[in-house]
Subunit: 153 residues, 4 copies
Amino acid sequence: MEAPPTPPPGAAATSVQHRVPFYETDAMRVVHHSNFVRWLELARIRWLAEHHRPYPEYVAAGRHFAVIRLELDYRRSVAFDEEVTITVWPEWVRGATLRMVYRLETARGLVAHGATDHALVDDEGRPSRIPREERDALRKLCASPVPPGAHRA
Amino acid sequence: MEAPPTPPPGAAATSVQHRVPFYETDAMRVVHHSNFVRWLELARIRWLAEHHRPYPEYVAAGRHFAVIRLELDYRRSVAFDEEVTITVWPEWVRGATLRMVYRLETARGLVAHGATDHALVDDEGRPSRIPREERDALRKLCASPVPPGAHRA
Amino acid sequence: MEAPPTPPPGAAATSVQHRVPFYETDAMRVVHHSNFVRWLELARIRWLAEHHRPYPEYVAAGRHFAVIRLELDYRRSVAFDEEVTITVWPEWVRGATLRMVYRLETARGLVAHGATDHALVDDEGRPSRIPREERDALRKLCASPVPPGAHRA
Amino acid sequence: MEAPPTPPPGAAATSVQHRVPFYETDAMRVVHHSNFVRWLELARIRWLAEHHRPYPEYVAAGRHFAVIRLELDYRRSVAFDEEVTITVWPEWVRGATLRMVYRLETARGLVAHGATDHALVDDEGRPSRIPREERDALRKLCASPVPPGAHRA
């Protein structure tokens, strides 16, 4: 994932705007890097509501999309009060996991890009397969419905 | 970085203990994944103080080790009041960047592992080469003083 | 401040909407109380931009409105994905300090109310008087331009 | 609560040390004021474990000490890597609520003081009376077992 990704043709993408609050900055006078991780969640949850199912319904049903892997490349720092656009789309869906990809931009250009892998778990954290119907629905939102054999090569 | 890493022979490692505060949990009733990123920082800063130079001295001098890449694999969720041990060591040091590797454990075993790449920047966020003397000192703390050609293959 | 406050006639008020992100919840499955404090800041900074001067201009000039006192009454818990409206207005302005008052509501009604006192400080944290011109401008935004003798009796 | 409080004779007090992580700072180059609220929780939870009952037992039983009021006076800013000592003790216990008082210090002296009022609630956030036995036990930990008539006058 060396080149900053863009939503491929056919992928269902969602963008959210986020104006940087003062409390997300740190003593470097820019946003602390851990907050980018939270921004990914903002976009992901909006994506679920727009394209799949509101996440509160998952939570109410005792189901969660736990993060099992996180990758983030930081290209530029982001300052207090800047507006960040976080764009997210799914890359692949497997039996029990799926991958979401992110692109983060401000008016100054690309600031970061990344990916998160998720597993469906219950309230006790036990993983479970994504029901076939849901999996099929989620796969239709990816550019390529077939998970690549070597997706990180 | 598929197998959970352990400090290689010769690498200078530091471990910190962190008892999970209630405010780090989320509505899944486990620690929110973004807090793991902050735990890496706790360990890294202790590592700098123990093996290299207290980070407050860097900050006071207007220098920062900005995070330019982050990778985290989450293996188990962590609950309120559990004690997490975060172990950190350097993997390689280049002209302007270095990589730190992490292993996170509780009494129940491995909970996560990851890595962060850093660039030395000034107060304005401009990258600068790590001074040769410092670079040499930092390299002596790695298992292998020569950065591998294809470290992420 | 026992009765939930409302903006008095003549006071310059600002309201911001905030949809609760998942990462603001805790293991009680509602928003962690410390996040309400951050919401006050969101509203306060918007208020400054709308009625006085964008806060980034203050920060760029090495000036900050440090919080010197905080009071919050929590009336109802707030859940993931709820929309909170935070309304803020100034109560009084003195030589070196000012007080902002807040009312927090969701569709279910009042969830909290509070106040913050602020002192103008420089980059080193040294307090300084609010320049007369600014003070006069800020006082015009309060309902009552004269600070009450016993405002917290 | 104008004079910085100290634990009165007979009150069960607990102190915790907290070294300030970099991620708790903000662009004022000191700790963001919202983090002080989290420090109070660190001390409170340690207090419960030392003097009453480990908070994880409460949570496991679906009971929580929800914060219903918060007061904080900030006297000095706190910097990255400083060690803060947070001392906490109970002020009074009523039928369904109790008040904890806090004093925060660094090597430079008092940095803040405050108080939190709590109500015992269940997993659904419904308040319930503190069982008489527990209430009696908690009251023995206060300096004065009788709640003052006008504690905030």
